[in-house]
Each structure stands twice: as structure tokens, then as C-alpha cells.
């Protein structure tokens, strides 16, 4: 294996510990990834050297921290290939990014009878904000179904696009099934009818190279904490033409130009959408996370993660009674499955006692569970710091669970 996983693991101090006297196996990366020492150090560095409020301060520290903050915006622009740093809005995370668009876009462009189109596999964060804004504006939320494999049904999708559709919101890859959705084609088809598309990139950003101009998406949302950065920092990318037209999401400090007793004028992009003191430590961490991903080379670790998934599917095919949920054409870093006759909660609880962290339950996608008619799944989600030996341990643990419960 050319990929130096053991060397990489040394960068993640948390991995080197015992859980219930077993070496920790962390397979809950789709929930949040662990942080490399470089990211942890960057946050520490910020508080030891640069801490201050940014943008407004004329003093040295403020200018230095503002410099890092704005440089990071430019680095993110490069990282996802946006056209301008003004298109990069810092948020708390994917959830806030989507809420921002649902609220601001929805208030401006949604009228009674209009339609928003999402898929049945969306995470609650790309589901509930649309449900709520549709309710408020009298619009209708429509759903793209899945085909037998668990992929987006593109034929049905085409028929759902119409003159009433105001926006399509779709996950780049599914947090439950692992399916990478054909977002480029989804966007192309929507654009034929001048319909903008929001891509929820929370699950994709740490696994796939993202080029927003090549995708031609109108909005792209992701969270820092799922890409090795701290929690509480995320990004909304939006095409300038949309962001210019959309009203502010929240109001207050930072986002204003002038405030009078009877009215307020708003700041230019991207500040119009960044009310209040931002998460500066998060931005320091996010910058280092991007450096880290660039250093270890996305193409190389993408291939390695694919090998981990293929290895798991092969191992799982030999475990009697194990059913993998969904068989997507393309997968990004995770597998959901069930053990016949065993509740996912029991499996997760017992696996935990063997030192293995997986996620069980509905994975914040209750409509998808209803659609698939299952109570939940067990999900193993990977990072480039996971190993084939860890997958062997999971397979052994599942056999043990079967013995205990069976």
C-alpha cells in the first residue's frame, strides 16, 4: 500500500487510546472527523498569539487575525474553485448555511404554489429548513424518489422539474447510503429551465474534490468539523448574482454599512451575511485542515478510502445475515447495514464494548428510513486514517454480536 496510513495516524492524537480496554476503532467519521495535531495547534496558536475581535480593530492583533481570517476565505475560494472570495460566507456549519439560503432565498423568491425539489434521502438539515420555508411562503415541497439501488431516480427527477420549481436542493453524497449523487447532471438539467441548485456537501467535502464552477452549482454548503476542522465553523458558497439579490439572514453588527434611527443599509458581500462576531478560532482551524488535506493529497487518499469500502463490502458479503442497505453506483466513504433479527441499537451498544465506534439509528434521515421501511441502520463511516485491520475487527465484532444476541 503506497498510502502511508501509519504515518498519518501519528497526526491524530485521539486515535491512540483504549476504549473498554480495546484499542479505539473510530468508524463514525460521517458524524464528525477527528482533528490532526496541526488543526489543534492552530486553534491553540490563535488563543496564545492572535486572539482579538477582527475587522473593526485598528490595532496590531486585530489586523493580524483579520489577515488570517480573510486569507482563509481566499484559500477556501481556491479549495472549491469559487470565482471570488465574496462568494464564500462563513457560517456555523452546513445546517446554518442551508437555513440561510432557505430563509433569504425563500423570502425573496418563493410565492404560494411555487415548488422546492429535494430528494427522499436528504439529511434533516437539508429537509426541515425547506419544509418550514415552504409552509411559511405557501410553497410546495416535492421529493425525488430513489431507484432500486438507492440512487436518485433521474428519470423521475426530470419529470418533477417544471415552471413552478424555484430551487433544487440535493446532497452531494448521502450520509446514510453513501451514494454519491450525480449532482453535475442534476444541475445541468435544472439549469435548462433556469432553476438554481443547492448542493449539501457535508458528506462529500472530505472525500471528493469539489469544483463549484465545474459543477456550476448555485450554492454549496459544508461543515468544517466533517473535514478535520473544529466544530462550529462552516461555509456557504453562493454565486454572487444570487447572494447579491438575497436579503440578509441575520442582522446586527458586522453586516451593516450605516445605521440610522429609521433605517439601516447593509454591508457588501460577503459581510452582508456574516452578522456578529465570527468564529475566528474555527477559521484558524479550518485553514490548517485545508492545508492538511492538500498536503496528503485528495486523489491519493480518495483511492485509499475507496479500497477501505471495497474491502468492507467483501468482508461483509461473508457474514451470514448481514444486509448492506443500498447498492449505489458510486460510494463515498461509508456503508450502512443491518444484521438479521438484531436491532441496530443492540449491535451498536455491544460493538462499542469492543472498542469500536459506529453510529446506529436513523442518522437524522427519518423520512429516508420511512421510505426504506427500516427502523434504522448500523453505519460504518471511514476516514483515510482507518485501516484494513480495523475493518477485520469490526467484522469479528459483528460475529460476536450475533453469538450474544442470537
Amino acid at each position: 500500500m503506497s498510502f502511508q496510513v501509519n504515518k498519518i495516524r501519528e497526526d491524530f492524537p485521539i486515535l491512540d487510546q483504549l476504549v473498554y480496554k480495546h484499542k479505539l476503532v473510530y468508524f463514525d467519521n460521517a458524524a464528525t472527523t477527528q482533528k490532526p495535531r496541526q488543526v489543534i495547534d492552530a486553534v491553540k496558536y490563535y488563543y496564545e498569539h492572535d486572539n482579538c475581535n477582527i475587522h473593526r480593530g485598528v490595532h496590531f492583533l486585530s489586523q493580524r487575525a483579520t489577515g488570517v481570517f480573510e486569507d482563509t476565505r481566499s484559500e477556501i475560494k481556491q479549495f472549491i474553485n469559487a470565482a471570488s472570495p465574496a462568494e464564500i460566507i462563513f457560517t456555523k456549519g452546513t445546517t446554518e448555511s442551508i437555513n440561510l439560503v432557505a430563509h433569504s432565498f425563500g423570502k425573496k423568491f418563493l410565492s404560494p404554489g411555487d415548488e422546492i425539489l429535494i430528494s427522499v434521502l436528504e439529511h434533516h438539515s437539508n429537509f426541515v429548513p425547506w419544509q418550514e420555508i415552504c409552509k411559511e411562503q405557501g410553497a410546495i415541497l416535492k421529493f425525488i424518489p430513489l431507484d432500486n439501488r438507492g440512487d436518485i431516480d433521474m428519470e423521475v427527477y426530470k419529470t418533477l422539474l417544471n415552471e413552478k420549481t424555484r430551487l433544487v436542493a440535493i446532497a452531494h453524497s448521502s450520509n446514510v447510503l453513501g451514494a454519491v449523487n450525480p449532482v453535475a447532471e442534476i444541475i445541468r438539467l435544472a439549469h435548462l429551465q433556469n432553476i438554481p441548485v443547492l448542493v449539501d456537501g457535508a458528506q462529500a467535502i472530505a472525500h471528493l474534490p469539489v469544483d463549484v464552477q465545474k459543477l456550476d452549482c448555485d450554492f454549496y454548503c459544508f461543515s468544517g468539523h466533517k473535514m478535520y476542522a473544529p466544530m462550529g465553523i462552516g461555509v456557504l458558497y453562493g454565486k454572487e448574482k444570487w447572494l447579491e439579490e438575497m436579503p440578509p439572514y441575520q442582522t446586527g453588527g458586522e453586516m451593516i454599512q450605516d445605521v440610522f434611527f429609521d433605517h439601516t443599509t447593509f454591508n457588501e458581500l460577503p459581510y452582508k451575511f456574516e452578522a456578529g462576531t465570527p468564529n475566528v478560532e474555527g477559521v484558524y482551524g479550518l485553514r490548517e485542515a485545508i492545508h492538511y488535506l492538500q498536503k496528503i493529497n485528495m486523489n491519493e487518499f480518495g483511492e485509499y478510502e475507496k479500497q477501505l469500502v471495497d474491502y468492507t463490502l467483501d468482508k461483509f458479503s461473508r457474514i451470514k445475515g448481514l444486509k448492506v442497505i443500498g447498492n449505489p453506483r458510486e460510494r463515498a466513504g461509508l456503508i450502512s447495514f443491518l444484521l438479521e433479527g438484531i436491532h441496530p441499537y443492540d449491535a451498536g451498544t455491544l460493538i462499542d464494548k469492543m472498542g469500536i465506534a459506529v453510529r446506529t439509528g436513523h442518522h437524522c434521515a427519518m423520512p429516508l428510513m420511512e421510505y426504506l421501511k427500516i427502523p434504522g441502520t448500523i453505519r460504518a463511516s471511514y476516514s483515510f486514517y482507518n485501516t484494513f485491520e480495523e475493518i477485520d475487527r469490526l467484522a469479528e465484532a459483528l460475529e460476536t454480536v450475533k453469538k450474544i444476541v442470537g
Partner: protein
């Protein structure tokens, strides 16, 4: 057997296991002896709210004592509720309300106690104590009505 005595008994049973996996396996075993709830009570009304597995709990009041029955579609929660049923069932509302819960720590089930943990122990205890509170109130009301 008093609540305290049952608790002591459980502490001694669980002290046999050092490995947390064995402890969970024993929980699952205990779940199998749970007095099964009547099918009609395996309904929405009797669910203890949670999101990962379903736990149904029913209580009846006879001669000053509460009789609990329960079930779950998952085995670990079933084991946990079976412990609570063993401790509380057949006792008066006062005894249940006054029972201290130290035993949870002593048998190493604290991990199940987190209020955010789905179908956690704390939800189950709360629901049982709520039943006790309701029966106690009803008792007081009827005794004051008799005077």
C-alpha cells in the same frame, strides 16, 4: 423483598462481571425474564419517548402496590427496563418515589443514564416515578374523598 434488597442483589449479580461486554450480555439475559406486557399496551400511548428503540411500559395499581410490565424491540433496553421492573414492581408509590438510585453506579450502568441517550435509563426511571406519583395522588384524592 424491599427495593433496597433487590438492589443489593443486583449489585452482587453484576459484580461477577468485569468485562463490559459480559455485563451487556447479562443485561440481555435478564431481559428475557421480563414479565411481558399485554399486547394491547404495546401501543403509542405506552411508549417511553426515545428515538432508537421502542420501550413500552405499563403500570397497574392493586392493593396499594404498582405492578409494572414492559417490553422493547431491542434487547439491551429490554434488559435495562427488566432491572427496573424487578426493583420497583410490587411496591407502593411511596417506596418507589423514595428509592435512591445509587445502585446504577454500583452495577456500572451509568453509561445508560445520560438523558440524551436514546431510550436511556433516565427516561425509564422518570416514567416509572411519574406513574408512582400519579397513583399516589389518586390514592390521596380517594382517601380525602372518603372522610
Amino acid at each position: 423483598m424491599t427495593i433496597k434488597e433487590t438492589e443489593e442483589q443486583l449489585i452482587s449479580e453484576f459484580s461477577m462481571f468485569e468485562d463490559p461486554l459480559e455485563k451487556d450480555s447479562y443485561l440481555i439475559e435478564l431481559g428475557k425474564s421480563l414479565p411481558l406486557i399485554h399486547d394491547e399496551y404495546k401501543a403509542e400511548t405506552y411508549l417511553i419517548s426515545g428515538c432508537q428503540s421502542r420501550v413500552w411500559l405499563h403500570a397497574e395499581y392493586h392493593d396499594g402496590k404498582i405492578i409494572f410490565t414492559a417490553d422493547s424491540d431491542a434487547l439491551v433496553p429490554k434488559g435495562i427496563i427488566s432491572i427496573l421492573v424487578r426493583i420497583f414492581s410490587g411496591h407502593s408509590p411511596d417506596e418507589i418515589l423514595n428509592a435512591d438510585m445509587d445502585f446504577i453506579d454500583k452495577i456500572g450502568l451509568r453509561e445508560h443514564l445520560s438523558p440524551t441517550r436514546s431510550n436511556g435509563l433516565s427516561h425509564m426511571i422518570k416514567q416509572m416515578k411519574l406513574y408512582a406519583l400519579a397513583f399516589q395522588a389518586r390514592e390521596k384524592l380517594s382517601s380525602s374523598g372518603n372522610q
